[in-house]
Structures are given as C-alpha cells and as structure tokens.
Symmetry: C2
Subunit: 348 residues, 2 copies
Amino acid sequence: MAPIQNARVLFNSVPSGESAARGPNVLGSPSRRADYPAAPLNGGFLLKVLVLSVDPYFRGKIRAPEKKSYSPGFIIGAPLEGYGIGVVLRSETPGVEVGKYIYGLTIPHQEYLMLPELSDLEIIEKHPGLPWPAYVGAAGMPGKTAYVGWKEYSDAKPVTIPARTPLSALISGAVGSVVIQLAKQAGMKVIASAGSEEKVQYMKDLGADVAFNYKTTDTRAVLAKEGPINVYWDNVGSEVLEAALDFAAIHGRFSKCGMISGYNTGHQGIKNLKLVYGRSLNIHGILVFRLQAKYDKEFYATIPAKLASGEIKYAEEITRGQNKVGDDILAVRKGENKAKAVIVVAEE
Amino acid sequence: MAPIQNARVLFNSVPSGESAARGPNVLGSPSRRADYPAAPLNGGFLLKVLVLSVDPYFRGKIRAPEKKSYSPGFIIGAPLEGYGIGVVLRSETPGVEVGKYIYGLTIPHQEYLMLPELSDLEIIEKHPGLPWPAYVGAAGMPGKTAYVGWKEYSDAKPVTIPARTPLSALISGAVGSVVIQLAKQAGMKVIASAGSEEKVQYMKDLGADVAFNYKTTDTRAVLAKEGPINVYWDNVGSEVLEAALDFAAIHGRFSKCGMISGYNTGHQGIKNLKLVYGRSLNIHGILVFRLQAKYDKEFYATIPAKLASGEIKYAEEITRGQNKVGDDILAVRKGENKAKAVIVVAEE
C-alpha cells in the first residue's frame, strides 16, 4: 500500500503586538506524505485522529517560547496540539488494541499519528447515544472543568436557604453551560451573563433564572437587584470580577476558571480585593487536569448518559476538516462562536 | 460618694484627604463627670475599663458615616470603640457578678461604662501567669486571628515535604508574630518580611528561617531564592501580594487578613490574578469574628498557657492612660509601633 497524505496544522510564528486578530495569521496547513500503512511501529501504535478541540486556552499557547505559563506554548514549526480523540489503526503496544479509542490533551492537529506509547493519553469508552465530538466538549475537558470545579468548591446549597444565589459569568459557554445546569440541579438560583443575545437566550433555555448581555446591560445593576452572590464562577476577570466582588455575600465562594477578558488586552488590576477578607470570601483556582483524577470515574459514570438522554443539554459548533482551524481559534477568542468549537477531522 | 471623672476619647471629625497623618487630628480627650458609684443600674452593670487595644483596623473605622465596610465606622462625637477588658464594679445583671472580667470588641474608650446587659461582650478568665494586656494581643483578637486562620486554612505540612514553604508578610507583627510561631511548630520553613530592621530581628528571634526588610530588600529576589511559597499570610496586599502570586507553588494557600498598604493610598489593582487558576491557588479571606466561635474553646485552652510559659513569644508596646491614643493610632498606621499597641487605662 502506498504512502498517504497527512494534513497538519502548524504553528508558524508568534504574532507581533496584542491584536485580537491572532489565529489565521499564525497558522498554516501543509500536509506531508508518510508510509503509515506500512511503516514499522517499533512497539508503538498508529492513531487516526477523529476529533480535535479548539478552546479558549489556545490563546495562551500562542506565545513566544520564552514566556512561561501553566500550559506549554505551541512550538513554532510543529503542529498545534490540544484535546482530541483518535482510533487505533495499527498497534504493537500491549493494551492498546486496534479499534480502541484514545483521548487526551496532547493530540497534534494532524490526520495520522505514530506514537511510541500511550504516555499521558488514555483509552476512552463511548456511550452509545453520544457522538465523539461531545467527548471534547460537555463530556470532555470543558464539561469536566465545570464538574470538578463545581463538586470540589461550590458548596452548593438550595435556594431555599435565604440569599443563596450563584452568578455564572460565561463567555465560551462550553464550561459555563454545564455549570448553569449543575447549579440548577442543586436547587440554586442562577444569574448568567454572556456577550450576545443568542447566548443569553441559550442560557435561559438551559434554566438560568436571570440571563443578560453584559455588553448592553449594566452588570452591577443586575446584581444589585438579583444578588448577593454566594457562588461565582469566573471565566472573565476584570470589571465583571470586580462587580462580583462588590456584590458577594459573606462567605461567598469564587471559582476562578479563566480571565478571558485579559488574554488580548492585558490583565486589568483588580482593585477591590480587600472584600476577600471583609466578606470572608474563598477563591479557588481551577485547572481541570489537577483535579480530574479525583472525579474522572464518577464523571464518566454519570455525565455522558445525562448528555445522551438530554437531562444535561449541550451545544457544539462543528467544523469538518482542518482547513479553517485558524478561523475557529479566532472565533473562540472573539466570542463569536455560538457553541463549543469542535473540528471533525475524519469520520470513523 | 461624690460623682467621679470619666475620661473619654472621642471621634471628633472625619479627616479630609488621604493623608497618613490621621489619628491625632481627629481625636479629643474630654472627660465628664458622672455619679457612677451611686447611679441606678436598672438591671445592668458598671464596668471599670482596664485595657484597650489599638489595632490597624481602626484606620477603616475613621471614615465618613455613609461609607460602608465590614466594621461600622466610628461615630462622630462618640467615644472610639474597640477590643478591651474591664472589671465589673457593680452589677444587677444575672451571671455578671462583681469582680468578673469582661472582654469584647465594643468597649468604648472611656474609664467607666454603664451597660444594660452583656450583649456581645463575654466573661473572660485570666491565666494566672499572663497579664491583662496580653488578652487584647497574642491572647486576644490578633492571636485569635492568627490561630483561627492558620487552623482553618493553612493545611500546614512539614518542610520535609519538598518545597513546602510559607511566606509570612508582616507589618503590625501582632498577628504575624503568632503565625510565624504556629508555622514553625508545624515544621515549616518560614520566610518573613517587615518594614524595619528591629522587626526583622524580632522575626528571626521568633524562629523565622528567612527575615528581611521589604523596604530595603527586593521581595522578588528573596522569593526567587527561597520560594516557592506554599502558604502565604497576607496582611499587606499590593506589590507584596503580586510578588507572592508570582512565586506561589501549585495548590498554594493564601490567607488574606488585611491590605494595610492600601488603607491610606487606595488599593492598587492586582494584575496577576490569572495565576490563581494557572497555579490552582486557594485564597481565603479571614475575619476573626466569623471564625472564632469554632475555635474559641481550644484557643483559650492552649494559647494563654503557651504565652505564659514562653513557648509562644509575644511583644507589646504599652501606653499608660488615654492621653496619647491618637499618637498610638498614627504609629500603628505608619508601622512605627514596635509591637502590639495596648493602652492600660487602669490597674485593677
């Protein structure tokens, strides 16, 4: 059998300046030929990539190599890398049989992949009622982020306890839309904000008691009326975080999951942190990969079935093929994507 | 018996501007006569004030009445109010017998006090080896703040666990000096900073492994060498907090107990809060009065004896009489006091 094409998406260069127009201008999509059907495996395995995820944290990886952060930067000249799912086509690795599905954070943006060992990737089972794209969204990292953060830190109490009110401030929706539903299932009142009318409507559809467009509505006015806030899920930072601090209840619990507002413009200083002790607040930083070992078993035992049955709703924006990854990254960065961005590289 | 003098210290006016020279210019010290030996008690009791405390939080109470904060502002024309201890001279209140000692947050700055009921004050027992001034310091609110915050949130681990290092950033010393000793007793390495060479030496005497003057030494250079920080006790805020965030270990625990640096100059925005999720940090706001009910019993059962025996060290700067309360407040504000400021109003 002849060598086949292996389309890839590379990180070409670090953009200069802090323009929002990152994404397309740093990415290329060259393919190269390789003899995957016949090349020696040397104890490893060959993966055919099915699904790749584009997430807000990509922005942090598009940076100069000398800048440090919690997630390693993309490597210039190498493929982008992120959450993805593939199927094993050939294998000499014990336990990694042909036909198994592999999930993990370090799947390169290319069609085929030769790997020497499983390393930090894992074998994943699919719920029969749930398609693979969901496994990088509500049944993957964003859903897990919501689940582990909520379980570990929210100390959720029903709204029958007076003034027990969460605010969920959402941009991408992929994490926040699960948080809204977990909060509602815990009996809480949910205040949610988003950057477009369409997303506001979606949050209402998910059960948010109050949903508003923070670009056209004054967050402080909403919180003055609907607060105080007992649980705050922060993907945003900056003015929204300051407003949430100002309307926090005593012993409020803040989960910090991102500060998307600062990714392009630099992080604004938060001036009212004295409220952290004034109101005895607890702030918890959440990175899913540091908590998921504790929760993975119960997450996979419960959430995919609830997604398949519709008990928990989710939404995706699927792009077929790798030709528009740059556009997808840009849309996620600008908040223009309507739902979790997923690239379907190949059907099974 | 004739009426007696009752010297008081009143809050005269809100100072204009944000000058550091608050304190003396807002306080007066008029006394008035009252017939305390014979006046009807109407079911209440007469307290002779022995000890009053001057604490950094006073700054927050010297404000315009319309400004809200966690602690009510001083009332113009009324005496200052704070932690203090008194002895009951006359009583018609059941359970509040003559000769009992009363402790609490709402003792006015005056020599004698008629009270209708115990309200939020409490009866306190004295350890025979410990003088009363200690009970508004290391055996009082500042010591309790250190104790409850440390017990509830530090998750202290011995230094034998690699890189398990606390930083204690101290200004007033009253809280921080207890934190240093609790951290050392937990087996941790302690990095401490203060604003004078004298305080630096005192921290070393208390057992700090590293102590430095943050006015003359670059905090970041110290932390780069001695960090990362697993536990951070923050009384300071601003640049010191930003530095601590930059050198925080993964899963670091930050206790926020004050932001003294911003009391006069306004609170500087904290720009690197993205590290809260990047490093999975936990930040806990501490106000002693919201935690002490949980810990009061064990605190009084253990700490006064350790203070009396010298197992835990403490220091005080005692002023006799109420004539220099304004100077004391100013010294605490400027960090010029050498140790916990206590006013001895009367001997027993």
